[in-house]
């Protein structure tokens, strides 16, 4: 694709995200995306043959970046507590930085066709699996102590995903602080008693 072609495709992606976010997938017409990206409908169809393809690409792009962010965080250390802390921090920061995409992805997942949806669910399952392996290893090695391992992982994922839902101005200015705080809360959830929470109970 030519330079201007790439630019147009990027403009279409930005326009589609803004429109899905504001009007919902159903409420967004191809014409509306074309209008926002200052392209003709024909030019838009040249880049993206359908509205569904745009949504599919948007969600996949988001999930790929998320998996990369938490994967990198997990590889930084072999210490399981630090690993969980880092992964939760990366997860929270990612969701704060990419709130709009996250919301659209969650709200509109059911609009994808069966194959595209399966692919996204596979990526979500890889995301959960990464957390689950850390927690399972931690419990096996008695670094963590939690009876309901699967529920604990789900709870940790949910609190660090829904962070995009309710948070205030102070957090907007300092996402790193919030990410660190949630990382420590996640360690509490899995019953980690060592540093960085030195006060053993």
């Amino acid at each position: 694709m030519s330079q201007s072609g790439n630019e147009s495709a990027a403009a279409v992606r930005t326009a589609a995200l803004a429109s899905f976010s504001e009007l919902g997938y159903h409420g967004t017409s191809v014409r509306e995306i074309a209008r926002r990206s200052r392209l003709s409908v024909a030019a838009l169809y040249h880049h993206f043959p359908s509205k569904e393809l745009l949504l599919t690409e948007l969600i996949n792009h988001y999930m790929d970046d998320l998996l990369e962010a938490i994967g990198t965080a997990a590889e930084e250390t072999t210490d399981l507590a630090t690993k969980l802390l880092n992964v939760v921090k990366a997860h929270v920061q990612f969701h704060l930085e990419r709130r709009e995409e996250g919301r659209v992805g969650n709200a509109e997942l059911s609009r994808l066709g069966p194959d595209a949806r399966t692919e996204v669910l596979r990526k979500r399952s890889a995301e959960r699996q990464l957390f689950q392996e850390i927690v399972d290893q931690g419990v096996d090695q008695k670094v963590f102590a939690v009876a309901h391992r699967r529920e604990a992982v789900r709870a940790i994922l949910e609190m660090s995903t829904a962070v995009l839902d309710l948070y205030d101005e102070a957090d907007r200015r300092d996402p790193a602080r919030l990410a660190n705080s949630y990382g420590r809360l996640a360690l509490n959830v899995v019953g980690y008693a060592g540093t960085p929470d030195p006060a053993r109970r």
């Binding site: 967004t28 969650n106 309710l166 949630y182 809360l185 509490n188």
Partner: protein, 200 residues
Amino acid sequence: MQKQPPVESPPVSSIDVIRNAALSAFNELGYHGTSTREISKRAGIGVATLYHHFSSKQVILVDLVTTFFSGLLEGVDAAVEAAPDDPRAQLEACVREHIRFSIAHQSDGFVAVRDFRSLNDATMKKVLEQRVSEQRLFEQIIRRGVRSGVFDVDRPTDAARAIIQMCTAVMSWYQPDGNRTAEELAEIYVELSCRLVRAT
């Protein structure tokens, strides 16, 4: 299919019929994807009748979302009132009620959480206040627990929010025919929440 048993069923008002029709349409198509015509079709009434009860689609969403969050806040408030004067017992009661209420009103709650950004500014502000009130309630309990030494967290605000977030998300995945009852799930979340604040 079995015939309805000849017992008296409570009268269903057209308002309820419209609410349920709107709920199912919002659930399936999203707020933006739902037209007033679609709601009236599902309700089996004319568009004119719908407009007689609700002047717009927005009014129905407002009704649905505020009813859900008011009910949740009232339920959690009452649960704290009824609990012993002890931070751990109160936190447990809050979490238990939050999960119970969310599952009992799962479809409303799902739409309320997902589509609340489609509310007009004034209503969104009101709903945010309701949600923040619930968070403050959790936060005050956690603060009292930290002061009396039964909880151990640095930032009660974050802990309160994290607990509410994990409990609220239950509505998006819980399946009534799955392997856990609402009560079992509530007890697991009570345990995880107590761990989160390092309760002793």
